[in-house]
Structure formats: C-alpha cells, structure tokens
C-alpha cells in the first residue's frame, strides 16, 4: 500500500508545484507549459501518442536487446582474456567517449531512409558500453578461490562459467542494465528528432517545435518519462527474479 501511495503522492505534489510555479510567475506557455495544458495536448494527439509511443518503445527495446547480446559477448571476451581486455578496452573507451549526437548524422547518412534500423542502431551504440564493462569487470574480478573450488573437482571452464561466474556477475549486469535503459531512450530520441520524416515520440517532439506547440513538446517529455519509468521497473523486476539474492535485508 505504502509502496504505491508514497510515489503517487510525490508525483501529485510535483505536479501541483509545477502548476503553481507557472501560475505565480504568470509564464506564457511558450516559456513553460503547465500540467493543466498537457492533458489537452495529449488528448488532441492521442492516436499519435499511442502509435509513436509504441514505435519509440519497440526500437528502444530492440536496441537494448542487441546491446545486451553484444555487450555480454564483449564483456565475456574481455573478462576471460587479459590480452583481449588490454587490447579492446581503450578502443571501447574511445568509442564511448564520442558524443552519440555526432554519430547520429553519420548513421543517418550511411543508411538513408532506413529509419527503424538507424534508430535501433543508435540506441544500441549508446547503451552497450556499460553492459560490456560491467560484465568484463564482474568476470575478471571473480576471486580465484571461487574458481578453485570447482576447478579442484575437475570442473570444465563452461561449468565454472554457468555455476559461478555468470550468477556472480548478475548483480553488476543488472546495475549496468538500469543505466543502459535510460541511455537507450536517449539514443532512440536523438535519431527520431534528427531524422527528417521520422516517426516516434522524438519526431512528435520535433513537430511540436516546428509548430510552436509548446504544450505538445512538454507532453512528449512526460510520455517519455512514463515509458522510461515503465522499462526501468521491468529491469528492476527481472533483477529481483534473477539476482534477488544480492539484496540484503535492511536490518
């Protein structure tokens, strides 16, 4: 009960504060739209919000899934082989250091018109780094004693991976996945906003901008927040199922 009520109350207080702020300062809605302007904006474009929201969501999720596969793969390679770690790490850091906003036009040019592919690609590129690093660190910092326990019984490397290395890395993996979810949304929206004739919530945001429909822009922000929260809690739920043991009770 409290777990639902307290966050809801916090949201209501936040909205009231926002409304009051706009009202007290008497801001016009091109400076800052107030929550009461948002609902009409949602309602007017409810069809678009649904279809574009879905587009943004599935692209983000697909990008994220690819990021998980590639990230875990890279993480495993770097986690198990020191040579590979030393070789790949600077490369990955450099790749990650490039602001993805600058990659967006390059990708858009590379695959002109492939809007879905481009968007998924950026979502993937922006979010796989934390996953790769966390898996690599998780695997490479596995205490040798853990390995020895199984190795001394003649267990194979694969058995050691499944029984010890993988489960032991799960908490780090889920920590990184929570970061990756937020990043993937950034990636999806960057591409949706920049692409001409794009689709998705980013494109809706962009059309709000071109039409000076400020309440619509704010409404998109809220919709993105809602999607972000939903996906984040899906990850939290998966974490509870697969790595719940890492959570110590508070006493």
């Amino acid at each position: 009960m409290r777990q639902v009520f307290v966050p809801l109350l916090a949201i209501v207080i936040f909205l009231l504060f926002w409304e009051a702020l706009v009202w007290v300062n008497d801001w016009p809605n091109y400076k800052m739209a107030s929550p009461s302007d948002l609902w009409p904006a949602f309602w007017r474009f409810k069809g678009l919000f649904l279809t574009f929201g879905w587009e943004t969501l599935w692209r983000t999720v697909v990008g994220l899934l690819i990021a998980i596969v590639v990230g875990v793969l890279f993480g495993m390679i770097m986690g198990f082989s020191r040579v590979m770690r030393e070789g790949l790490y600077p490369l990955l850091v450099g790749f990650n250091a490039i602001p993805k906003a600058t990659v967006v036009p390059i990708v858009a040019l590379m695959f002109v018109g492939q809007h879905d592919l481009n968007t998924v690609l950026i979502a993937f590129m922006i979010s796989f780094f934390p996953i790769a690093v966390s898996v690599a660190i998780g695997l490479s910092t596995l205490e040798p004693e853990y390995r020895d326990i199984l190795r001394s019984l003649g267990a194979s490397k694969i058995t050691i991976f499944w029984k010890i290395a993988l489960p032991k890395t799960l908490p780090e993996f889920f920590g990184a996945l929570k970061v990756a979810v937020t990043l993937a949304f950034i990636g999806t929206n960057l591409m949706e906003i920049v692409s001409p004739h794009g689709r998705g919530l980013g494109a809706l945001f962009d059309s709000g901008k071109t039409n000076s429909d400020y309440p619509l822009m704010f409404a998109v922000l809220i919709a993105l927040a809602v999607l972000g929260i939903a996906l984040y809690y899906v990850v939290v739920m998966l974490e509870k199922i697969f790595a719940g043991w890492a959570e110590r009770s508070a006493e």
Binding site: S152, G154, A246
Partner: protein, 272 residues
Amino acid sequence: MANIPESKTGDGDLIVIDGVSHTYKTNTGPLPVLDDLTIRVPRHGFSAIVGPSGCGKSTVTRLVAGLMKPDSGTVWLHGECVVSPRSTVGMAFQNPVLLEWRSILKNVMLPLEIVPSKLDAAAKERRARDLLKLVGLAGFEDKRPSELSGGMRQRASLCRALVHQPEVLILDEPFGALDAFTREDLWLTMHRLRAEEPFTGVLITHDLREAIFLADEVIVLSGRPATVQYSLQLPDTGPRTLDHLYTSEATETLNVLRDQIRIAREGEEAGQ
C-alpha cells in the same frame, strides 16, 4: 628428480610430495617458493604445515589439488602422479567462498553436481543434510550464506569439502579468520568429522596450538624458498579434548615448534 622409482609411492603413503621445487615468475623477477620439498602423509593421516608468512604454504595445497604443476619434482596421490585436478580432493580456504545465490544445502551439494556419483538426487540431499547435522548446522539448510555467522559459514564450507567423500582434505587456514572460541569449537568439529569418516588431511595454519591439536604430524617449513626444516610426530592421533592443550607436554611441544618458527624466520631474514 626425473627418475623416481615407482616403489616410492606404494608404501602406504597416500600423499607424497617428492622433491618439489617451484619458482613463480613475477614482474620483479623470478620468485623461488619451494626448494626440494618432500612431504609424505600416510593414509588417514593428518599433517599440519606451519611456517613463516608467505613461505609458499598455499602453493603446497595448490600442488596437491592439482591446480598447478611444479617446475620439478612430483606430487603423488594414491600412487598416481598428479597432473590435473581430481575429484577425490576436497578443499576449504580461510574465506569460506560460499555462493551467495544458493542456500546452505545447495552450497554443500555443489561438488555432487560436478563429481560423477552413484547416488540419486534424494541420497545426495540426505548426504548433505547428514553432514550439516554433524557440524551443528541442522535447521540452517535453507538459509542464505549471508544470514549465517562466520563460524557457521566455515562449517558449511567444511561440509562442502567433504560431501563427495574425498580421499584427501586440503585445508588452507580454514579457521584463520575466526575468533578464538569459535575456532576451538571448530577444532572439536574437525575431530568429530574425522572420527565419523576418516580422510587424509593436509592443514595449512599459522596457529601452532591448532596444529598440535588437530594433526598427527606437524611440519615446519623454512623461509622462502621453503623446504622441510623440522617435523614432529605427535604422540596422540585420535580425538582429543581441549584440556589436552593445557598440559605441560603440550606447552613443551609448542615451545619446540615456536623455536623452529623463529629459526625459520631468522633464516629468511638472513637470506634477504
């Protein structure tokens, strides 16, 4: 040390470490740790290995477990040359290394998932439960390791080392991180386990009282590179009570060993 006659291994000693030398390659150059080390442990014997810190005691356990190969010399188990890990060995370390995502029971059963066994699932579980009961952990089978105290975790770790009925039990300072009372409790548990199902044991320890309380033979290693400096056969081999540690004989034995450790450390300092 290439031509060791086969007969060397056949005379009742279960573990034979025969003329083993080993040098680690480190960033700062070669680091010799073992120098022509020879140790024999008879079947169902229990040897404690003591020596200055960092003299290569843990290397000995890794050699016996087959986790590494020596530069020269041979380790024999049961008359077979040890070249790779074998499932007839059980290990416990100072850190109990229990898997946090498994219950205590599942932790103890881990070796049974790897070692080929004739037991069916129910028998395996019964075996693990019996062991846990023997060390006083009945009722904790479904707890997570994080819910147990350090001493209890170490008990569970001992159960895991023994669950597949290994011929050889290797203990690398298993009680080093425990408080004095818990440690004494676990010493008694060790005797109980040994009486219940005999194994051949090698115990690495820094605690001389622990060595003379648990072992049949105490081996003092010299400073690095380690070789056997002194070995002492203890008069009692069976179960003991803690009172035993407070007799004048025990004090005398401890003094002899303490002297040997001092000599080992002086030798090491002189060598540096």
